[in-house]
Every structure is written in structure tokens, then in C-alpha cells.
């Protein structure tokens, strides 16, 4: 397909060139008007043949054709050239000569209505009269050569002037050309308005208009404008001649004073507003900051002042927080058990020379003690088991001599009361809890006799206390707590269940071979070897309301060797300075029956005096 079209194009081009060579035709004779284009304007050197300069119709009812003789001056005489035309109808007509040569106009052939057939192809030929030469041929259809006459009655009216007085709009009106029969609809015209400034070269064109009026917007007041119009048949391309130009000019209206104050007002208003805004911002800076960037709320606890948290002292804080029931501070200070541990120093120190520990451990301190029969169990209570005779003896002595012991709870001959004699300390309400006790104490020193001196961790020091005793006491206090703990553990382990401290005590007291003793008890050995292992067990408060205070059961040490258990000490006695003296080598009260613990097999001497679990195994009955 492309090859075909290219070939056809090539042929067409050749034909065109050939035609141009033969006859000086113009492709579109309709475009040329005889007035504007004359062959004489072109190069006169080359010979120009006679030719048609154009054919036009004004109203689609008649048409005219013009020709030129060219450089052939001899043919310019009238009659030398003739025009023949032919209408291409179905029966091809013959060539006819021009029906009318216009008399007034040179070289013009006029076709009247009778000879004008619309929608019919015409061909005109320019022939020389004398010779049989056709100089030019031109074919057309009439509707394609229609150039309407220019519209008439062009005028303008002012629409409005802008506020600034610089621009204005006009409305242009016209009438259709009188020759064109638009009323019957034979011709439907489209108009084009053009305008320009007075001395400009370029014309501004408006859109095609079917009606008879059009507005022009945006003209400037101080300038003069030229307006003209022409028309064409709708759906065709041939514009007619332009109408005569009209001139538009509007004088500028001086209205400057209206412009100036408004600008000033606007500027001043904006500036004032800005100043006000700045003032407001600067004066209310803080508030604005708060509004724009609100502070992050700090965590708040009811009733607590955050300032106090920052700067307050520990005491205040504690009081605060305790009131909040949020945490319990160390209540061990106010713990009655702690108090319980704190012995009455004044009386003990002054009244008797012997320490509480000694009394506790059964050192015989002869001395009358009032109120021996104040309800305490006597040492020779037959209910008491022979195992704990030593303990009992110690306890008895303690009862006699120790003022605190006098305050001890009721010690009845009942089996439960057997525990009571062993109360070395002041009884306290049942609601003692072991949790608050301080189980650990620091070993400060070891006495030459083999006692371990404990120093209390957090207990207040009383004046005049022997540092050794103090240490011992502290140590004992710590140890006893340790041992209590251990005792707890051991009790749980050793017992078959349903254990009660009474049972332990009974077991301890009753068992001759002392077989469970090694399991239940542990030894606190003094550094001296060869000493009899002394066991002491710690009983616990039975929570079922028995008035039993925690107590120590300083049993008579068994006859076996003391294994090295370093964690525990044996409380020998409690001295007047609230310290527990640990002296495993202290001789037992002779009044007390010998400890059946001596039945224990002899064990290798352990310097530390503690019983290890391995050694306990060896202590089999």
C-alpha cells in the first residue's frame, strides 16, 4: 500500500511539474484576485504566457473570470484572446465562448445567472483568437469559488470601562452583505472580526461568528484601535474582501485618587495587624507556651508532695509512704521480738554478778532469789525427762536467778510446760512472728574459753556493755536465729510429719540413744576440740495459741565428738549485757543428771565444733 501511494505521489508531482512547464497555472485560482496578483509583478524577463488570473463568485449566482495576456503584448489587444467554457454535465456540452465580456473591465468574462450552474464543474479555456492555441485552462465548481462581499454597517458601542479606567470593552455590530441572500438561506455566512492597534502590523482575530454582533474585551483606553470584518460561506474556505476599518478610541478616565487611598489603607491595616500580633505574642509568651506546649503531667500519688520526694529525708519519706500502706519499712526495730531479745540490763547487771547466759546455761550461782515458787516448775519435776535434766537444771537456775526468767510465762508441770522452763527470755505475745527476726549476727570474737562472741547487727548498744559480751550476744542472737532457721529446716526434714516442737523436745528428752537428736539438733562447737558436743535445739512458737515463746533448748551436749560445723554456735549462757555466751566447754550443772547424749559414739574432735551432715550420719545410734 505504501509503495502504491508513493508511486502515485511521484506521478502527481511529475504531472504537476509538467503542467507547470506547459501552462503557467496556479493550483488554486480561487485564491487569487485580479487586483492583487498580476503576472507583471513577477519576473518580467521570462516570458509569461497568457493565463487566467482568477474566477470568483460573490453571491453564488453569478461569477466572473479574469485573465492576463502576460508578456505577450501583442495579445493584450482586446479580442485577441477568447475564453471558452464547458460545463461538465452528463451530456457533455460543447465549448462555448464567454457569454459576456465585461465592457467596463478589461479581460473579464462575466457569467450571468443563466450561465451559472451551481454544483456543476466548469472548465474555461483561454485561447488565442487567431491561432488554435489554448494558453490556459481552468476548471472549477461555482460553490468553491464563492467569495462573499464584505459585511456592511460596521459600528461599535462601548460596553464598559474597568474600575481602574485602563481597559474597556466594546460591542461591534454589522450587517450581512446585501448581495448575499441570507434571508432565504441560500447563503449561510460566517464572519470574522479583526482588530489591531493603530500602527501595529499584526491583526488580532476573533472567533468566527454566525450572528451579526460580537464583543471585543480588554482594549486599552489610551490607545486607538482599528477594527475590520470579512466573511465566508460556512463549510467553505474562501473569505471575501475586508470591510472598511473603523477606529475605536476611549479616553482614559482619571480615577487615581480612588486607587491610592485604598492601597494605603490596606497596607496600613496589614502593618497594624502584624504589630498587634507581635505585641500579643510577646506579652503573653508564657501563657502561649503553656497553651501551645502544655507541660507533661508528672506522676502523682495522692497525699504525697512531690517536692518531698525530691528533697525529703529518709525518715519523712518512710513516714509518708508507710502512711500510704505501700510498703513496710523495716519494722523489725519495733518488733516485739526484738524487744523481747533486748534484756533488761539495769536490773540484771546490778542485781547479780552472773550473766544471763550463765544462768541460762545452768551455771550455779548460789544466791537467793525471791519468789522461787512463783509458779515456775522446779528443777526436780519428775515430769521432766532425764534427757533434759541438764537443761532443766540450767533452766532452774535461771529461773531462780534471772529476773527475766521470773517474768517468763507460766511454767506448768504439763508436758507443754516443759517447754516453759526453757524460756530464757521474757515471754511475749503469741503473735510473734519469726519473720521479723534478725537471723544473722556477726561473730566478733571468740573467747579463750571457747565461747563465740556475737555482736548484734542492728540492736542498739547499751552503755556499759562489755564489747565481748555484746559481741557474744550479737553472735548468739544471730546464731540462734540461724539455728532457729536451721532448726526449722531440720525439723521439717527429720520429722515424719505432724511435728511439733513439743515432740522434738520430748524426743530430745526421751530418746536415750539420742538417735533423732543428731537429725534434729545441731551442734555449736567451741573451738576447743574434744569437747562434748552440745546440741541445742530451738523450739518454735506454735501458732495455735499456746503461750510458748521461742526458746532455746540448750541440751546437755552429747558425749560424742563435736564435728566441725561452722555455721552455728551453741548458746551457753546469756550474760547481763544481752549477749549470748557460747561456751561448749562450760561444765554442766552437776545437779543435773548427766546428759544421755553422752551415749553418742565418740567422734573425732573437730575444732570448729559443728556438726556436718556427714558427721550426723555417723552419729547413728
Amino acid at each position: 500500500m505504501e509503495l502504491r501511494t508513493s508511486l502515485s505521489l511521484l506521478c502527481v508531482l511529475l504531472c504537476m511539474l509538467g503542467n507547470q512547464a506547459i501552462t503557467p497555472h496556479r493550483d488554486r485560482p480561487e485564491d487569487y484576485t485580479p487586483a492583487t496578483h498580476t503576472p507583471e509583478d513577477y519576473t518580467p524577463d521570462t516570458p509569461v504566457l497568457p493565463h487566467f488570473t482568477g474566477c470568483r463568485s460573490r453571491e453564488q449566482e453569478t461569477f466572473r473570470c479574469w485573465w492576463s495576456a502576460g508578456t505577450f503584448s501583442n495579445l493584450s489587444e482586446p479580442g485577441a484572446l477568447v475564453v471558452f467554457f464547458q460545463m461538465k454535465n452528463t451530456p457533455l456540452s460543447d465549448w462555448q465562448e464567454c457569454p459576456e465580456y465585461t465592457a467596463t473591465v478589461e479581460n473579464e468574462c462575466y457569467f450571468s445567472k443563466t450561465f451559472t450552474h451551481i454544483w456543476t464543474s466548469y472548465c474555461v479555456q483561454l485561447r488565442a483568437t487567431a491561432q488554435n492555441i489554448t494558453y490556459d485552462e481552468f476548471c472549477f465548481t461555482v460553490e468553491n469559488i464563492v467569495h462573499p462581499d464584505p459585511p456592511v454597517g460596521l459600528n461599535w458601542t462601548l460596553l464598559n470601562v474597568s474600575r481602574s479606567g485602563l481597559n474597556f470593552d466594546i460591542l461591534v455590530r454589522w450587517a450581512p452583505p446585501p448581495s448575499a441572500d441570507v434571508h432565504t438561506g441560500w447563503m449561510s455566512l460566517k464572519y470574522e472580526v479583526q482588530y489591531r492597534q493603530r500602527n501595529a502590523s499584526h491583526w488580532d482575530k476573533l472567533d468566527l461568528e454566525s450572528g451579526t454582533q460580537q464583543s471585543i474585551y480588554g482594549l486599552q483606553t489610551d490607545k486607538e484601535y482599528e477594527v475590520r470584518i470579512h466573511c465566508k460561506m460556512s463549510a467553505f474556505h474562501n473569505f471575501g474582501e475586508f470591510s472598511d476599518s473603523i477606529f475605536v478610541h476611549v479616553a482614559p478616565i482619571p480615577s487615581k485618587e480612588s486607587v491610592f487611598p485604598t492601597m494605603v489603607l490596606l497596607v496600613s491595616g496589614v502593618v497594624g495587624l502584624l504589630i498587634l500580633l507581635m505585641l500579643v505574642i510577646f506579652s503573653q509568651q508564657q501563657r502561649l507556651m503553656v497553651i501551645l506546649l502544655p507541660p507533661v503531667p508528672a506522676p502523682k500519688i495522692k497525699g504525697i508532695d512531690p517536692e518531698l520526694l525530691k528533697k525529703g529525708k529518709m525518715d519523712q519519706l518512710n513516714s509518708l509512704l508507710s502512711s500510704q500502706h505501700m510498703y513496710n519499712q523495716d519494722t523489725y526495730r519495733e518488733d516485739p521480738w526484738v524487744e523481747f531479745i533486748q534484756l533488761d540490763l539495769d536490773d540484771a547487771g546490778e542485781k547479780s554478778g552472773s550473766s544471763d547466759t550463765q544462768r541460762l546455761l545452768g551455771f550455779t550461782r548460789p544466791g537467793p532469789k525471791g519468789d522461787d515458787d512463783s509458779g515456775r516448775a522446779s528443777c526436780y519435776d519428775p515430769d521432766l525427762l532425764p534427757d533434759a535434766e541438764g537443761l532443766l537444771a540450767a533452766h532452774c537456775e535461771m529461773e531462780e536467778h534471772h529476773p527475766l526468767v521470773s517474768e517468763s510465762g507460766p511454767s506448768t508441770p504439763s508436758p507443754e510446760a516443759t517447754d516453759a522452763p526453757f524460756l530464757p527470755f521474757r515471754t511475749q505475745p503469741v503473735g510473734q512472728s519469726w519473720i521479723n527476726m534478725d537471723f544473722y549476727a556477726q561473730v566478733s570474737d571468740v573467747t579463750p574459753a571457747g565461747g563465740v562472741v556475737l555482736s548484734p547487727g542492728q540492736q542498739s548498744e547499751t552503755p556499759g556493755m562489755n564489747p565481748d559480751e555484746k559481741k557474744k550476744k550479737g553472735e548468739d542472737a544471730g546464731d540462734e536465729e540461724v539455728e532457729k532457721e536451721k532448726k526449722l529446716q531440720l525439723l521439717v526434714v527429720g520429722s515424719d510429719g505432724g511435728y511439733s516442737p513439743e515432740v522434738v523436745a520430748r524426743q530430745v528428752e526421751s530418746s536415750a540413744p539420742y538417735s533423732p537428736a543428731p537429725e534434729n539438733a545441731y551442734h555449736a562447737l567451741p573451738p576447743e576440740p574434744g569437747e562434748e558436743p552440745q546440741t541445742w535445739s530451738v523450739g518454735y512458737l506454735v501458732p495455735d495459741g499456746e503461750a510458748q515463746a521461742p526458746y532455746f533448748l540448750p541440751e546437755a551436749p552429747p558425749a560424742s565428738v563435736l564435728p566441725p560445723v561452722s555455721d552455728y554456735t551453741v548458746v551457753q549462757e546469756v550474760d547481763g549485757q544481752h549477749s549470748l555466751l557460747l561456751n561448749p566447754s562450760a561444765p554442766q550443772s552437776p545437779a543435773c543428771p548427766p546428759n544421755p547424749t553422752k551415749h553418742l559414739p565418740s567422734m573425732p574432735a573437730v575444732p570448729m565444733g559443728y556438726l556436718t551432715p556427714e558427721l550426723l550420719e555417723n552419729l547413728s545410734p
Binding site: 500500500m1 504537476m16 461538465k88 452528463t90 451559472t116 466548469y122 432565504t184 438561506g185
Partner: protein, 225 residues
């Protein structure tokens, strides 16, 4: 579902009937007032004339595009005499001739022309669509032309009926549905080329437009007619 289908069909048929009756009666004003009828005829004519003007514009645009494509040699139009297939139809060649022609004949000529171009235009569209030379815009224009001719013919038929109803023209304008099938053929008997078709149609659409305008002026009395 068949029952529903039947109902739907009945409904559609009723609608169609309604439409037809509405189309048939037309005038807003009561029957008998001549002024009222003339007005409606004038509106019809205006509508038809607008349609024909648009048709002519489209054909002219298509013709311009063809000239861009083919670059016909100068005077190609005139040199080679193109015999359009509608040349056998006798048409008035001027304003006066058209004005002298009877209304019925003029109407008949219009209808003949419009009928003659129904098939050739569809043929033109098909041939243009197959060729690669034309863009889709041109081929769409050809399709639009064939549709418009079809509608215009219907519109003119309506106007004719109206005129016959009003007694402005006699009933001699026979139905042109069975008009002779004018096959587009050139002098040599070959099928006309696309360019020739477009050229001929442009001419004929101009004829139709002008004839309608003249007819309107004669039927509907206006100032200046």
C-alpha cells in the same frame, strides 16, 4: 421465568406503542389551529436544516483531509470529470431553479439524494477502515456521515409527512423506501474511489442543505423569503 418474560415483552410493547402514538400526534396546541401547526413545522424544518448543515460541514472536513492525503494535481477536480452516481438525479442547479421547482418535487429530490447515499457511505467507511492511510479519526467521520445521512433522511420523511398531513403538499411524494438502488459507479463502470465518493458527497450534502432552506422558506412564510 417465562411468565416474567412475557410480562416484560408486553410492557416493552406497550411502551413502544405509546412512543409511536406520541410521535405521530406531535403538536402541543390543539388540533385545528393552523398557526400552531406551522410553528411546529418550522421547528422541524429548523432542526432538519441544522442537521444538514452539520452534515455538510463534516463532509467538507473529510474532503479537506482527503486532499491533504492525496495531493491532487491542480485542476484535478476539473480535469477529470467525475461522474457521481447521483448525477442521474435531476437537481436544480441554481437558486431560481430551486425556487421554481414544485415543493413536492423538491422534497422528492431531497429524499432521493439522501436515500442514494445510504449504502455508499457505509461502503466508504468500510473501505477507509481497512486502509492504513487514514487515521481512525477520518474513518470515524465516515461512519458518522453514514449515520447522519440515515437520520436526516428520517427527519425529512417526518417533515414530508407533516406537510402532507397539513395539506401543504400533495400526496404524490411516494414512499422512497423502495427507491432504485443507485450503485455508485464511475463512467468506466468501475467502483468509485474513496476520494471520488467524498467529493461527490460533499457536493450532494451542499445541495440538500440549500434545498431544505429553500423549501422551508417556501413552506413557512418568513420575512424575506
Amino acid at each position: 421465568m417465562s411468565r416474567n418474560q412475557k410480562q416484560a415483552v408486553l410492557f416493552v410493547a406497550l411502551l413502544c406503542l405509546d412512543l409511536r402514538t406520541h410521535v405521530g400526534s406531535a403538536p402541543i396546541c390543539p388540533h385545528g389551529h393552523t398557526g400552531c401547526h406551522i410553528l411546529s413545522l418550522a421547528d422541524l424544518f429548523d432542526r432538519v436544516i441544522q442537521h444538514s448543515a452539520r452534515l455538510h460541514g463534516l463532509s467538507s472536513d473529510l474532503h479537506s483531509e482527503f486532499e491533504h492525503f492525496f495531493l491532487p494535481s491542480k485542476n484535478h477536480i476539473g480535469r477529470v470529470y467525475r461522474k457521481c452516481h447521483t448525477s442521474s438525479i435531476l437537481t436544480p442547479n441554481g437558486k431560481e431553479n430551486a425556487q421554481k421547482l414544485a415543493r413536492e418535487e423538491l422534497t422528492e429530490v431531497i429524499l432521493k439524494l439522501l436515500t442514494a447515499w445510504r449504502d455508499p457511505l457505509s461502503q466508504l467507511h468500510q473501505s477507509m477502515a481497512h486502509q492504513q492511510d487514514f487515521n481512525s479519526f477520518s474513518s470515524n467521520k465516515a461512519l458518522e456521515l453514514s449515520d447522519m445521512v440515515h437520520e436526516l433522511r428520517k427527519g425529512v420523511e417526518k417533515v414530508t409527512e407533516k406537510m402532507q398531513l397539513l395539506g401543504m403538499i400533495s400526496n404524490s411524494v411516494n414512499g422512497l423506501s423502495s427507491s432504485e438502488a443507485l450503485l455508485p459507479a464511475s463512467e468506466s463502470g468501475e467502483a468509485m474511489s474513496d476520494y471520488e465518493l467524498v467529493y461527490c458527497f460533499r457536493r450532494d450534502s451542499d445541495k440538500v442543505q440549500n434545498y431544505l432552506k429553500i423549501l422551508k422558506c417556501r413552506i413557512v412564510p418568513e420575512h424575506g423569503c
